[in-house]
Each structure stands twice: as structure tokens, then as C-alpha cells.
Subunit: 211 residues, 2 copies
Amino acid sequence: MRDNRISEAVISRLPKYYRYLSELEAKGTQRVSSSKMSADMGLNASQIRRDLNCFGGFGQQGYGYQVNNLKNEIKKILGIGKKYTAVVVGAGNIGQALYKYTNFAEEGYNLAAIFDADQSVVDKEIDGITVRPIEELADFVINNEVNLGVITAPKRHAQRIADELVLLGVKGIWNFAPVDVVARKGVCVENVHLSDSLFVLSYRMRTNGED
Amino acid sequence: MRDNRISEAVISRLPKYYRYLSELEAKGTQRVSSSKMSADMGLNASQIRRDLNCFGGFGQQGYGYQVNNLKNEIKKILGIGKKYTAVVVGAGNIGQALYKYTNFAEEGYNLAAIFDADQSVVDKEIDGITVRPIEELADFVINNEVNLGVITAPKRHAQRIADELVLLGVKGIWNFAPVDVVARKGVCVENVHLSDSLFVLSYRMRTNGED
DNA sequence: TAGATTGTTAATCGATTAACAATC
DNA sequence: TAGATTGTTAATCGATTAACAATC
């Protein structure tokens, strides 16, 4: 049943399914129907069945979906649990926060080191690990088979850092600088723009009700 | 020209226009056409003109758009520059990072205080300001006319905190806990799921090229 | 005026939803 | 078997893109 092209819209809903099913699993729920999911998640039941069928027929007519099984299928689809080795470039507020955040490690995303160009933060201890000088980035990426780069540096350096990381062989860039970083075909980029989401919130607060 | 209902898709592109126009303005560029914007931003020129026309006729035939003027219009539309007073609830990694991040303050979003329920972090200094005990939240929100709540607490507390903030009168919730917080009509919610974006990245890295 | 580029309508495309036959 | 619910096709809806008349 695997379609050859999955739309962005479908992909962006997968993490939400994964979160929901993890909750159900934690509660010990065995089975779930698309109509139950629909009611709980506020998505159309047809859409849920259609989304899931992009990747395979995980359900059973007259029964629904096995919670644990479906969760694990989506986990596999998303590539969660595969081992990723990442570096964080930029030891500012967000960089440090992500680096210290342990939930990612639990899902298999190992943030192995954090780098900065600013000598005044280099060698500063964060949770027992030291901020490394940017000069060591290349060696570290190569020696540790790093495949994922997290960019938390200032905007003006973001693209240059991305280019270097790509050159060093990383296959994914998770960028937090407020600029759309680009990379050559074959390297995946996710731009996370926190302020964009704040602006959308502020738009809604301003226009609430009317408009 | 103001349409009565602006789609989510259009709204989500506004911050990107704002970022782009700010760059142009910083470079001293006076005017820009939709085709130039299209080339630079990777969006269709028709779409850009249509998006902008949801809010008014900002351009001029044969000329294009005045960069500075258009930027300011979008700024107004997004409600940037209005004064918002926010509290951060949850002084973990992400909470501290957002609280310390000064860019928001520059745009008019004043993160006035940070709270936590955990006694071991309360009274800890962060950039000269102290983490306040959660017990003081209600008084602070009321006395300082806080209209925006930032939730960076653990998942299991997120909805309860949101409910309390709403009860105290905030008009917007910016939630970073990995759960979709809901609020009554009239209160706006933006759920930022960092791990969702990491999962989408990891999906792309896994399926790159094929699928 | 001629050239350029918007604002806007019409055409296309894709995503969502409804409906239902298949089947557990 | 009867009831429930999926998988999937068909219908609808909305968003994107193309085209072009309006106009600076």
C-alpha cells in the first residue's frame, strides 16, 4: 500500500499520532478505532485512516488498531529509535537548553557535543560537559560519525555553519537561527523559527473573534 | 480589500515575509516586486500578491512594493510592537533559555517573570532575576496585567497551568510542553512541539531520495 | 506613451471529507 | 451470522497557480 509520494501534510501529523498513541499505551489501552482517535485528537476519522494507509494496512476491519503495534509502526516510519549522533553549534541560551534536554537522548538522539566560537564561553561547564571551541568541530564530526547538526548560533553565521556541517558529511540540519538555512539535495533541513510561532500567536491575539 | 477569513496557510507565511522584508530593509533596499520576492523566497509570485492582498493593496502597479512600508504593514498585521507582558511557567532548560533570550523583548514581548514549583530552583538567580515560587503566580499575573503565558513545565502539568493562566486572564498561551494544550474560545494557543520537528527531520533523513 | 507590475478572476491542483464495499 | 470498522474510491472543498485586465 506504500504510496510513492507522501505529502508534507501527512508527515507533519505523524508525530501527533505518535504522541497520542504513546499516551494510550501508557494508560494500558489495547485497541483504538479511527473514530475514537478522531474524537480525542480533533482530526477527521477518514483522514486518520487515509494517513495511516499511506504506510500500510495497520488496522483490522471490525476491530480497529492495536495501540502498541500502531505506535511502533509510526515510530519506525519516523525513524525514532535509530541512533543519531548530533552536535550542537552555538552555546547560547537555546543551544545550552537543547544540549541539556535529556528527552532527546531517550529517543535515540545523542547530542554528543556543543561548540561555540566565543572564547568566553568555551571551556565553560554545562552539566559536567564542556563547551568545545569551534575549531575542533571538524575533527569531532568526522571521528564520531556525527550525522545530525543542530544550529543554535546567531543568524549571520547559520548558513556558513550549515555549509561546513554538510561538507563534513552530516545528513540532517536542525536549525534554530531565524533564517531559512538551505542545503544541497540529499541533506535534510528543518528550520525551527520560534519567533514565527510567537508572531502567529500575537496575530491571533490581536484579531481574536473579528477578522 | 480585507477578507473576512484569512486562512492558516496565509497567516503562517506572514512571519516569513516579515523576516525577508526586514533583511531587505537592513540592506537599504527601497522597493521590491513580487517576482523578486518569489525568486528570493521560493514562493510563487501570484501567491505572494494574493497573500498580501488579503490585508490591503500595499503595492503599486508598475512599481512593486515599498520595502519599508510593506514591512511595517506586516508588522502591524502580526501585532508585533504592541506591548505584551508575559510570564514563563517552568524554569527548566527551555524555560530559562526563553526567559533569557533578549530578542523577544526587543520586539515588545516582555517576559516579566519566571516561575517554578520546584523549591530547589526557586530563588536561583538567572541573569540577575530570580525564579519565583509558583504560589506567587496569581498575584503577579493580576498585578502586572500579564496577557501572555509561556508554558515550559513538564507535560503532566501543562494543561493545569494553562487553565490557571486563562482563569487569571491571559489572552494567549505559548506552550512548549509536548502536549496539545487547549483553552476556551477567546484565548489563543500556540503549541510548539520541538520534538515533532525533530521527528519529521528524522523521517526525512531516513527516507531521503526514495519514498 | 510604453513598460512594468499589481490586483483579481479563472483554472488547476491537491488535500480533506464522505460514502460504502470489503472483511474481520 | 450480525455488527463494527477498516481500506479505498468518489465527491467536495480549499489552496495554489496562471492569466490578464487595470493602472501606475
